[in-house]
């Protein structure tokens, strides 16, 4: 069975990392395949997985196969199972599905192939305590506790904003995206309140959803317009929650016009490269620890169906081997702000809980009583945005 996610998260991360790091004994070569939902070089979500998988492959001297753009739009008439089987036919013993979108395929595949280990990144079917537990010994989930990354990002934003207005460029509305936007807000609010000693009421935190993970002309809102709109209306920091980097690109545009605006990309450690001069830093996933742990266990036969929700390695959240969530400070982050961010990180490391009552949901209903700490379930399945955030909470019916 899976470990208790709450403590498993950081701890698991470390162990996985250390083991992977220390033991380099060449067990018989393992072949694993990874299915990437987007292009392997998207400078975002998929590339983060791709790079990690390659690192791990080297570490365990395993062979890696991959297919990218695994989505029905890019690969008409194919399903992830089908592609997974193709990889199996090429010798893969472990298959990584890297997106929530492959949920059903991952399950179906795991059921159909009990002899193949299945790792589904961002899913909850292996989570005993989850709403959606399926008892499949060959299926494990791994996910990063991006809530921490987003909190830190929020803090960076709060420490930087001059106008006290922070924009959040959201994709579509669901549990995950709500959770992350809210985490960013909590981080921002905390630093605003405790480090800048300002009244939370003066902090505007607005979420605009474009309706999808990227722009589809004539169907979604145009993220470029959303970002421009934020900057034009005095939001001087925009946090991005979508797959593409409009926030950063547009921030640079305004910056070049002499405006003091900043952006925080998402997902991928080197994302800032696209416009360092406006990048406050990026909260990113580092899939190395998780993948190492699971692939290792597959390799030496100690595989157990687990649900890993891995957090940062608080000793060094940017440690490539041990920290599943990191925050890479950007060039645009002032020294003062960067100190504050570091301070915030240490506080979190020392057990600061922001998902802790009193917290209300956007519509004013109570979410956490005073002093109550949210369970992972409560966080994972967050029903609304939090009180104090602007923007839609639930998709329209």
């Amino acid at each position: 069975g899976g470990q208790q996610p709450t403590k498993a998260a950081p701890a698991g991360g470390n162990q996985g990392g250390n083991q992977g790091g220390s033991q380099q004994t060449g067990a018989k070569q393992l072949t694993f395949g990874i299915l990437l939902v987007g292009p392997y070089n998207d400078h975002g979500w998929s590339q983060a997985h791709y790079d990690a998988a390659q690192t791990v492959a080297k570490k365990l001297n395993a062979k890696m196969l991959y297919v990218d753009k695994v989505n029905p739009a890019d690969r008409p008439g194919t399903t992830a199972e089908q592609l997974a089987e193709d990889l199996v036919s090429k010798g893969a013993k472990v298959i990584i599905f890297n997106s929530d979108d492959m949920k059903d395929s991952a399950l179906a595949f795991a059921q159909a192939h009990p002899d193949i280990y299945v790792i589904h990144a961002s899913g909850d079917n292996a989570w005993k305590e989850g709403k959606d537990y399926k008892n499949l010994p060959n299926l494990s989930n791994v996910m990063g506790k991006m809530i921490y990354g987003k909190m830190i990002a929020g803090c960076a934003a709060a420490m930087t904003t001059q106008t006290g207005k922070i924009g959040y460029l959201g994709p579509l509305i669901n549990d995950e995206t709500r959770r992350l936007a809210s985490s960013a807000y909590l981080g921002a609010k905390y630093c605003w309140e405790h480090y800048r000693n300002k009244d939370p009421k003066d902090l505007k935190f607005k979420v605009t959803w474009i309706g999808f993970w990227f722009n589809i002309p004539g169907v979604t809102s145009d993220p470029t317009q959303v970002a421009d709109d934020f900057f034009n209306n005095g939001y001087d920091v925009v946090l991005s929650g979508i797959d593409t980097t409009e926030a950063l690109v547009e921030a640079k545009k305004f910056h070049d016009q002499g405006k003091k605006v900043y952006a925080v990309p998402y997902d991928y450690r080197d994302a800032c490269e696209e416009a360092p001069e406006v990048c406050l830093g990026v909260p990113y996933f580092n899939w190395v620890p998780g993948y190492t742990k699971l692939l290792k266990s597959a390799q030496d036969g100690t595989w157990k169906s687990t649900f890993l929700w891995l957090g940062p390695d608080w000793n060094n959240i940017n440690d490539p081997d041990t920290s599943s969530i990191g925050f890479e400070p950007g060039d645009a982050l002032s020294d003062a702000a960067s100190d504050a961010v570091t301070k915030f990180e240490t506080e979190l490391a020392n057990g600061l809980q922001l998902w802790k009552g009193p917290l209300k949901l956007q519509d004013g209903t109570l979410y956490l009583k005073d002093g109550q700490v949210a369970t992972d379930q409560q966080i994972w399945y967050l029903p609304q945005l939090l009180e104090g955030m602007e923007g839609q909470s639930v998709p329209q019916k």
Binding site: G38, P39, N41, D42, H43, G44, K69, A73, D74, T208, W209, I210, G211, W213, F214, N215, I216, P217, G218, V219, T220, S221, D222, P223, T224, Q225, V226, D228, D229, N232, N233, D243, T244, T245, E246, V249, K252, K253, D256, Q257, E273, E274, A275, E390, G391, Q392, P395, Q396, K397
Partner: protein, 332 residues
């Protein structure tokens, strides 16, 4: 929303609409000459990709734009050639090209995914940009947006107020008649298709080097723009000014879609985004329904006065496409 925010928003609309204006006016020229170039959607993607790739590898925005324009011309000329020289259906060829150039863009653009490229800078116009409202609304853009303004006027003037413009309308209306008046019909068709293609091609870099700087492959968010431009060409009744108006309307609705999001939680966000299309269909309905048999018959059934009025209104709404649109003309 404060009036300031609205003005800035509107300026943003003018800015984001620029490439659509280019494509629409380009297609307007092409179709005025009697050629329908259906490849716009793919062309924009391919030219966006190529110009980004070139700009990145040459570190020169200029060459980027050149590349985009050349691609646009190339594709357009393929349509013209296969129609004029090979007598193939313009719709068919254009359609194939729109799909093929799209996949070409994705295939060849793969290495350039997510790279950081150069970007056109803003050129606030010295004095004018300081004028309170108008300054922000009209004089604080990058050169492309200014060019889009100029293009609208220029195209309108060219088509309706010059001798070559008269001939342009002629070859799209009745090539044989233009030909006996000494117009080199097919030469001109090549010329205007190339010009139109160049403008469509210009839309590409306008995206990848300005409005949506960068290349993100399938998620660049450009797939579909070309179809919109094609629709706007009809929407505008082959008149650059009306076409441009359509483009602005489209961008405006997109913008409203997001600023109104918080104010109308009960309306799906897709509604306003997709609104331009039903709107377009509706316009097409209005401008065409006058020509349909059943309407004529029903009109005849009406009492005289009602009939007169209805006829007047319908004739007023009608836009008549260039009669020779999509046909080929054989010079001996």
């Amino acid at each position: 929303m404060s009036s300031h925010e609205i003005i800035i928003g509107l300026a943003g609309v003018l800015f984001t609409a620029a490439p659509i204006v280019f494509a629409t006016i380009g297609e307007t020229f092409t179709e005025r000459a009697g050629v329908i170039n259906l490849s716009v959607n793919g062309t924009i993607l391919l030219s966006a990709m190529s110009s980004f790739a070139v700009a990145v590898s040459t570190h020169s925005i200029f060459w980027g734009f050149v590349a985009g324009i050349v691609v646009g011309m190339g594709v357009a000329l393929t349509v013209a050639f296969s129609s004029i020289a090979l007598k193939q259906s313009q719709v068919a060829v254009g359609f194939v090209l729109t799909l093929m150039t799209r996949d070409l863009a994705y295939f060849l653009g793969n290495p350039y995914m997510g790279l950081q490229g150069p970007r056109v800078h803003n050129w606030p116009i010295p004095v004018l940009s300081k004028i309170p409202v108008l300054g922000t609304l009209l004089f604080n853009f990058d050169p492309l947006t200014y060019f889009s303004f100029i293009l609208i006027i220029a195209a309108w003037w060219w088509i309706f107020h010059t001798r070559p413009g008269l001939i342009l309308r002629a070859i799209g209306e009745r090539p044989a008649a233009a030909y006996v008046r000494g117009a080199p019909v097919n030469k001109l068709r090549y010329l205007y298709t190339a010009l139109g293609g160049a403008l469509v091609g210009l839309a590409g870099p306008t995206y990848s080097l300005s409005v949506k700087a960068g290349w993100k492959g399938t998620i660049s968010g450009l797939d579909g723009i070309g179809w919109i431009a094609l629709a706007l060409t009809i929407f505008g009744g082959w008149d650059p000014v009306r076409g441009a108006f359509g483009a602005y309307l489209f961008a405006l609705l997109q913008w409203l879609g997001l600023v109104l999001q918080p104010y109308m939680p009960n309306i799906p966000s897709q509604v306003l985004q997709v609104a331009p299309f039903p709107l377009m269909i509706l316009t097409l309905l209005f401008v065409n329904i006058g020509n349909t048999e059943w309407v004529k018959r029903t009109l005849a059934g009406l009492p005289p006065d009602a009939r007169r009025w209805a006829t007047r209104i319908l004739r007023w709404m009608q836009v008549v496409p260039p009669s020779a649109l999509g046909t080929t003309f054989e010079e001996e």
